[in-house]
């Protein structure tokens, strides 16, 4: 039986600051890489343009949520007050726009919020219990003061040696291989600690 070989997720590099990471991202984007990402403790202004992102589609989900909310509110009030059990209260019409507005408004807001949060979770693929980048011990700094760039091995332009050199040229340090299954990595290259949530 052959020893199973570990699968490489990608190469990670650390950058000293937000501006260094931004410039590195511009270069990687210019080289045409597609499967890569930058990681930072806070959103970096201008990073979306540097990585060539389109506008986020979360707003589409919000709009769908809002439309659902408004039509639900209308259907609810109209059906219950004017169709299912019309009841005269103080001689007022069964259905009128004015008294319905507060509930139209509130349900629109409520379902817009639901739509937004569902959209966010779908687009960011959350919740997610594990990700290969967490196998890199140094990556713990990402939520503190670390700025990282990870090139994925799945990218067609990825070449283990050339990409390592590239990351060094654009200012990256601490360049390391990130494995999907670190327990299979032979000892010297093995990360200090296995997996984190």
């Amino acid at each position: 039986m052959n020893q199973p070989t570990p699968t490489l997720h990608g190469l990670g590099a650390e950058f000293p600051s937000a501006s260094a990471l931004l410039h590195a991202a511009e270069k990687i984007h210019a080289l045409g890489f597609r499967r890569w990402d930058v990681y930072s403790p806070f959103p970096i202004h201008g990073m979306d343009q540097a990585m060539g992102f389109q506008r986020s589609r979360v707003s589409l989900f919000s709009l769908l949520g809002g439309i659902t909310g408004l039509s639900t509110a209308f259907a609810l009030i109209y059906y219950t007050s004017a169709i299912n059990y019309p009841l005269i209260v103080q001689g007022k019409p069964y259905f009128a726009l004015e008294p319905s507005l507060p509930i139209f408004f509130e349900l629109t807001i409520l379902l817009t919020a639901f739509g937004t949060i569902i959209g966010l979770l779908l687009l960011t693929l959350m919740p997610r219990l594990h990700h290969p980048v967490f196998n890199w011990e140094r990556f713990k700094k990402v939520s503190d003061d670390g700025f990282f760039l990870v090139l994925e091995a799945a990218d067609p332009r990825f070449q283990p040696e050339a990409s390592r050199q590239l990351l060094g040229e654009i200012g990256g340090s601490q360049i390391s291989e990130i494995y999907q299954d670190p327990e299979l990595v032979p000892h010297p290259a093995r990360p200090e600690k296995e997996g984190s949530v």
Partner: protein
């Protein structure tokens, strides 16, 4: 000439000291310092004062279930309510607590949309305060319905009577407004917590913490593919929370304004209630933040400038409610309606005069002290002054509710309301519950939004080129040089 130059230079230097914008994080703290100082509140063993105060306020909070059990098992009569005053302390407390919540949403949403960067270090705790205040608020109308086990009739769920809710009633609008407000505030708060929960996960030293914060942070890894959607979602939630927060207190004010009771039936109510809510809410934010900033040494994050800004908002909104009070009187007189005129003279000079003048002193007079820089700059003076709005806003709701209905159209049905011990104890219980929940929050969750604070430091600006000291050349030095030329 030389002396002139020197004095001009000194004057410029002094002026530029004033003109220079104070940094939002004092003392050029590095990013890791921010993480460290916020996370260690959660990570280190709880200090003695935390245990003492949590046990104390937790004990006071038990008065809530105790009083509610007594109320439900005996009947709503144990509250001092009776015709003609059927809404009294319970609705006063409801409006008081829901109003306090408004400052949290104002800070997190409206100040976000208006790009007030100083909001970053206070928004988390203010939003937490919102949620806890709405929890306290919800207790009162829910139990005021009398037969609490039928409270689900408030929601459009098919029931055995086959009757639906009356969607023309402002009380039903209130159900929708408050429950939407609570849900959206909770979502917004949790969304803001995700990156900070990831910080706690990454710093966790025990397996339990790693699992708990790991699950709560939903697998957040700070990648830009996440940030881009995250920022959009945050912006949208801020955008919808802004009209929401304005609507909630407007809908609360409709409970009164759509009735025919003199003193309630006024068009000024929605803006007046919203201004009052923000006023009372900011006073409560200051009340909570000043002690915690001292106890946890967070002076570099919640700076004197933050407190100064909040005092100015208290001054502004306090003056707005003062204007509303006088405008109510003017309109009552101008309307020529004897019932209106009587309702307002009765407020100021009738049997509840003490409540009215407490309200004026606390809400209109006391905040005027914030015109003085000394009062805004000294945290303990601020803390003393904001106790007045905290009290005054309770009196405002009491004055509006009780003095309007205790004497309306028919003198034969006039009455006088006094609270019972159950009213008083339940209200004290909710104060205990509020502080208790807040103490739990500071212990288990990061009380300052670390990622947003980091984002407003100079290091976060991608066009900032790292100077070893983190200082940039500022106008400070160049102005005197120009004076020379």
């Amino acid at each position: 000439m030389r002396a002139d130059n020197a004095s001009a230079q000194a004057a410029f230097a002094k002026a530029s000291d004033y003109l220079e914008r104070q940094p939002l994080v004092a003392n050029h703290r590095p990013l890791s310092w921010i993480t460290d100082h916020v996370c260690r509140i959660v990570e280190q063993p709880a200090p003695i004062w935390w245990w003492v105060s949590t046990i104390l306020f937790g004990a006071v909070a038990t008065l809530v279930p105790a009083m509610l059990t007594y109320l439900v098992s005996t009947g709503v009569g144990v509250w001092g309510l009776n015709v003609p005053v059927c809404w009294a302390w319970d609705i006063t407390n409801f409006v008081f607590w829901i109003g306090i919540g408004h400052a949290g949403t104002l800070i997190s949403a409206i100040l976000f949309l208006t790009r007030q960067k100083w909001r970053t270090s206070i928004n988390r705790s203010a939003e937490a305060m919102t949620i806890f205040a709405v929890i306290c608020a919800g207790i009162f109308p829910a139990f005021h319905v009398g037969r609490i086990w039928f409270a689900w009739f408030l929601f459009p769920i098919p029931n055995a009577n086959a009757i639906w809710q009356n969607f023309r009633s402002p009380l039903l609008w209130d159900v929708f407004a408050v429950s939407t407000y609570f849900t959206v505030s909770l979502i917004f708060w949790y969304l803001g917590l995700i990156p900070d929960l990831a910080s706690l996960r990454d710093r966790a030293t025990t397996r339990f913490r790693q699992m708990a914060y790991g699950l709560l942070s939903l697998g957040w890894r700070g990648s830009n593919r996440q940030w881009t959607h995250y920022e959009k979602a945050y912006l949208i939630l801020a955008g919808i929370s802004t009209p929401l927060v304005l609507s909630v207190h407007s809908v609360v004010s409709f409970d009164f304004a759509t009735s025919v009771v003199p003193g309630w039936h006024t068009t000024i109510f929605p803006p007046y209630f919203v201004a009052g809510a923000i006023f009372g809410g900011f006073a409560m934010v200051l009340t909570l933040l000043i002690p915690f900033r001292e106890l946890y040494g967070l002076h570099d994050l919640v700076t004197d400038k933050h407190i100064d800004n909040m005092c100015k908002i208290v001054l502004l909104t306090g003056s707005l409610v003062g204007y509303a009070y006088s405008m109510e009187f003017f309109i009552a007189w101008y309307s020529g309606n004897p019932f209106e005129i009587y309702a307002f003279t009765n407020r100021a000079l009738g049997p509840y005069w003490w409540a009215y003048w407490s309200m004026i002193t606390c809400n209109v007079v006391a905040p005027q002290l914030f015109w003085f820089k000394y009062c805004r700059q000294n945290p303990w003076v601020v803390l003393a002054i904001v106790m007045f709005p905290n009290t005054g806003m309770w009196f405002e709701r009491f004055v509006i509710i009780v003095t309007s209905i205790h004497r309306d159209f028919l003198p034969s049905s006039w009455g006088y309301f006094s609270p019972t011990w159950v009213d008083i104890t339940l209200f004290i219980g909710t104060i205990g519950l509020f502080v208790f929940l807040f103490l739990l929050f500071v212990r288990f969750l990061p009380m300052i939004t670390m990622f947003e604070v980091k984002n407003v430091t100079p290091q976060a600006d991608p066009h900032h080129h790292d100077h070893p000291t983190g200082e940039k050349t500022s106008g400070h030095h160049s102005i005197p040089a120009k004076a020379h030329a």
